[in-house]
């Protein structure tokens, strides 16, 4: 269990605090990273292929090539994150040595371990992890994640799963706040999460780390919806560089993340956009095609 008052943990959460209200964009090379930074991204996520291509091409998806990450680090001044495979603590050690600013232990890549996630407490670099429900979020926090994001369904261009996951996490937190203290042990058992973290949610009504959204955000309206449902910032994967006009989509989604409560501004952001990325009907996907069921 991380000590939330511990200096190392506060520094990790501190960077997540700085990203709030912003958009973290998936990029596969320095050119895309520069477009993202100029459009107002608060960070970029370096990866080998965007999720919709991983979905299409299949094969094993790994940590991005080091030369690509370096090239991105050299070209932009905003934080550079990178993905490691679930449980692949040596990819994570390499990314830490490379001094990436955040590691995403991500279901978008092919899992390296089907039982264990990375023990994130022993790292200096902070981690973000995906979650579909409160139990999963609290397990990741117990392992040391300093930021949680919804898993959604990456590369689908379909917001429905991110909405489901954000609503689930928020609803489960609300329910815990009205329970009696004596009910928390049973709740912890049901959630398969540590009691101390369930107690934190009971007392505070929120996670002890920032809660962002990812997995299917493709338009300014999607970003605003995620923020309205409780996301404190958004990750956009394929939604930008698989759209008809990446630069314009990037700028529009940045604007939407700031003005998510203001329909007039959202209209401005949505105006004159071309076509968004092609989307997938999740209900038509086979169980083995889902990325969100990776990890537990």
């Amino acid at each position: 269990m991380p000590n939330f008052l511990d200096a190392d943990f506060r520094v990790k959460v501190g960077l997540a605090e700085m990203l709030k209200g912003g958009v973290i964009m998936d990029v596969t090379n320095a050119e895309q990273a520069v477009i993202a930074e100029k459009a107002g991204a608060c960070a970029v996520m370096a990866l080998e292929r965007v999720p919709s291509d991983i979905r299409k091409e299949g094969g094993v998806a790994r940590m991005a090539p080091i030369s690509k990450i370096r090239e991105i680090q050299e070209q932009v001044s905003i934080p550079v994150m990178a993905k490691a495979r679930i449980g692949h603590f040596m990819e994570a050690r390499i990314l830490e040595a490379l001094k990436v600013d955040y590691i995403d232990e991500s279901e978008v890549l092919t899992p390296a371990d089907e039982e264990h996630h990375i023990d994130k407490r022993g790292f200096t670099v902070p981690f973000v992890c995906g979650a579909r429900n409160l139990g999963e979020a609290l397990r990741r926090i117990a392992e040391g994640a300093a930021m949680i994001r919804t898993k959604g369904e990456a590369g689908s261009g379909n917001i429905v799963e991110a909405v489901r996951h954000m609503r689930t996490i928020v609803r489960e937190m609300k329910q815990i706040t009205v329970l009696g203290r004596e009910e928390l042990v049973h709740t912890a058992k049901n959630l398969q999460a540590p009691l101390e973290l369930v107690e934190f949610v009971h007392e505070n009504g929120k996670l002890p780390v920032p809660n962002f959204s990812a997995g299917g955000i493709a338009t300014p309206a999607d970003a605003a919806l995620a923020m309205q449902l409780g996301a404190e910032a958004v990750f956009v994967g394929s939604g930008i560089f698989k759209s008809s006009d990446p630069e314009r989509f990037a700028k529009a989604i940045v604007k939407a993340a700031t003005f998510y409560k203001d329909p007039a501004k959202l209209l401005e952001a949505s105006e004159e956009l071309g076509l968004g990325m092609p989307g997938l009907d999740i209900s038509k996907l086979e169980e083995h095609e889902l990325l969100q069921t990776r990890g537990w």
């Binding site: 506060r10 501190g14 605090e17 209200g21 912003g22 107002g40 001044s77 934080p79 200096t124 700031t258």
Partner: protein, 181 residues
């Protein structure tokens, strides 16, 4: 009671709002020109200065902010300090020029070089991918130092900190800012 505005385009504006409240003040989030008229001072939060600059330009807030700063106090932390500076390096970028300081971005390194530490005067300071004030003009008074560099400064109406007092349980900087409103 006077009201502190917190620029809420991107960054840790919520942490600033809470820090103002902990210091006994009242805070409101500001996202446009209209909001500026209703506050007695403004906080520029931490976050990504490039993102804030892009949104300031988009919303045509750059000049109104500069004009606000000629009349009323502004307090910037980290990215906010970068926005207040006369000149910015690593890389060179636009700034409001309301304080006679030159600032280098990400001057300690990347996130693995971020830290919670004690300043030379003993107060806690949270540095996150922090900038360093490389030059402070004659009119700038240094309120705190870390490793010899000025990290909390004031000049005229304004204050800047390269660390994040809003992330510490007790913030002398917020208390002082409220007294100046």
């Amino acid at each position: 009671m006077k009201t502190a505005g917190v620029l809420a385009l991107q960054g840790d504006f919520e942490a600033h709002r809470k820090a103002v409240e902990r210091a006994g003040g009242r805070a409101v989030e500001i996202r446009g020109r209209a909001g500026l008229e209703r506050v007695d001072g403004l906080i520029l939060p931490g976050g990504e200065s490039t993102t804030m600059l892009r949104l300031l330009n988009l919303e045509q807030l750059f000049e109104p902010l500069r004009e606000f700063g000629l009349r009323k106090p502004i307090f910037g932390t980290c990215a906010g300090a970068i926005l207040l500076a006369r000149a910015v390096s690593n890389p060179v970028q636009a700034s409001l020029g309301l304080m006679d300081i030159d600032v280098e971005r990400n001057a300690y390194g990347r996130q693995v070089d971020s830290r919670v530490t004690r300043l030379e005067d003993g107060q806690e300071a949270v540095f996150i991918r922090a900038p360093i004030i490389r030059r402070a003009g004659d009119g700038v008074r240094v309120l705190a130092r870390y490793q010899g560099d000025p990290v909390w400064v004031e000049e005229g109406l304004h204050m800047a900190a390269t660390f994040h007092p809003e992330l510490s349980p007790v913030s002398d900087a917020h208390r002082l800012f409220l007294e100046r409103l």
